[in-house]
Each structure stands twice: as structure tokens, then as C-alpha cells.
Symmetry: C2
Subunit: 161 residues, 2 copies
Amino acid sequence: MRRTRFDHSPCPIARTTDLIGDWWTPMVLREAFLGRRRFDEFQQALDLSRGVLAQRLGRLVDEGLLEKRLYQERPPRHEYVLTEKGRAFYPVLAAMWRWGSDWLWEPGTGPAFELYDRDSGRPIRPRVVDEETGLPIDVRRVRVGSRRRDRPAGEPGGGAR
Amino acid sequence: MRRTRFDHSPCPIARTTDLIGDWWTPMVLREAFLGRRRFDEFQQALDLSRGVLAQRLGRLVDEGLLEKRLYQERPPRHEYVLTEKGRAFYPVLAAMWRWGSDWLWEPGTGPAFELYDRDSGRPIRPRVVDEETGLPIDVRRVRVGSRRRDRPAGEPGGGAR
């Protein structure tokens, strides 16, 4: 059964879902962010079938989040390296990390792991804010409206909602 | 074929994926954030099968992101209302919105929609930062380590990675 595709949706959330809604894909990206590059490294870390892993890596290459590079000629061996587009995805995983840590453990407990700043050693707690004001995003203050300017896709005028 | 479940994984990203990796679930949440509450409203907005929608809403209720409330007695009719846990998920969608907007449109174009602050009318651009410093999260500065303190799940000592 073919799933409904969202990759041409007008909504950025829908298009992103089309990519990471493939079961395993966020985990493949997580492992890439942990420094894995080779097929066997991903496979050992995730313990998933080689067929599924090959499909997920292939899609991430097709979508431009990973680049497939030859690191050995005989026999030919490739590694999968995050691109700028792929690295830019990390904040989405960081937001998932934060929400999961806060809400998906029993009250009074939490994951055994935390994010730390490599240099200072301080714990890092991801938070989603408005870039300009630095204030946390609160859905009750947000509306979705037509784009006003800046980009060719923009439409004049105010919001539809 | 049963999928591998991640809902008891030690990793918050994996647990979150177990929930939103269900195809359609991020879109159901998106519609809840847009103010939809009734089954038929979700169904009309998303144009998905009633069976799939019922399963997704049911799981979001089971997981505590939505609360099912009776709004009419005869015949009995329910609506689905975001809980605190559900509202707390919005930043994840906001991070997906930002990445999707930045990377999933052709160069020089972008989505026709933008997020706006309801009061000031200013565009809102979500960004994931470290809560304490306000600095953007950069994967190259982050490591995952054992939790040092604060929570019962914490382990003494430094990081494993």
C-alpha cells in the first residue's frame, strides 16, 4: 500500500515529515551526528536490516542530507558524510531530544544521558525560540499567515489565518 | 510485519520517533495546534481515512498529548484537546517548520506561508538554542554523556562519548 506523500505539500512540517516519517530515518541521522560514516557502523549501531538501512541512506543521499564518498577503491567502499543541509537538521533532533527527555520518562526520572558542551562541559538543554527576540516559541502566540516579503514565493498582504 | 519499537529506548530521540514516526501523526498534531478539535475537522483538513485518523488520535490520547472530552451527550460526541504535554510538543514542529522552510524548497523560493506573532504581527523564525546561553545548538560542540545530577535516573561521573 502506497502511503500518501507529503513531499510537495505547501507546508514545511509536512515536507519534513515526508522525510523523517520513514521509520528509522531519525535514528540514522542521529548516528550520523554521533560520527558514524560507514554502512557497517550504522548497521551495528542500529541493528536494523541491511536492506532498510540501504534504503534510508539512499534517500538521505538523494535528498542531499548525506554525501556518499568513496574511501577505498579496491574493493570500492563508500562512506556517508553529513552535508550542510544534513547538519542543519540537528536542531530538529535536539528539539525532539528535549521534549522526549521532559515528557517520555516516568515522573521523577529521566534519560541516563544528557547533552554537554564539548568545551565547557556544561549541560546543554535545547530550547526553541524566536530567532529575533530569543523568546520561547509559544503556540498560543503564533499564527500561520501568507508570506509577506523577502522571497519570490511570497505573497503580498497579511495572513490567511 | 511488526516494526521495531523505540518507545523503551534509552534515547529521547528514539522514543520521540516512536510516536511521531507513525505516518500522519505530526500532521494530526499540526492540525490540533491550528485549533482543530473534532474528528470531522481533522478528517476534512487532512483528507485521510477515518480508520487511520482514529488510530492516530487514539494513540495521542493514550500517550497523553491529547485529552478526549465529551462535548455533546446525545448522540455522544467527543473532541480532542491538547494537554500540557501536547502543547509542549509544538517546539518540535516549529523546528521542523524552520528546517523545512530553509531546505526543502527550490533555491530562491520558499513556502507561501510564514509564522507570525499574533500580537505584534512580526514574522517568527524558530531557532533551537541552548536554554542557558541562548546560543544556537551546533552539533560540533555537543557530546552525549551520562547524566551527572538532578534526576534519579542520573549516573555519577562524566560522559561515555
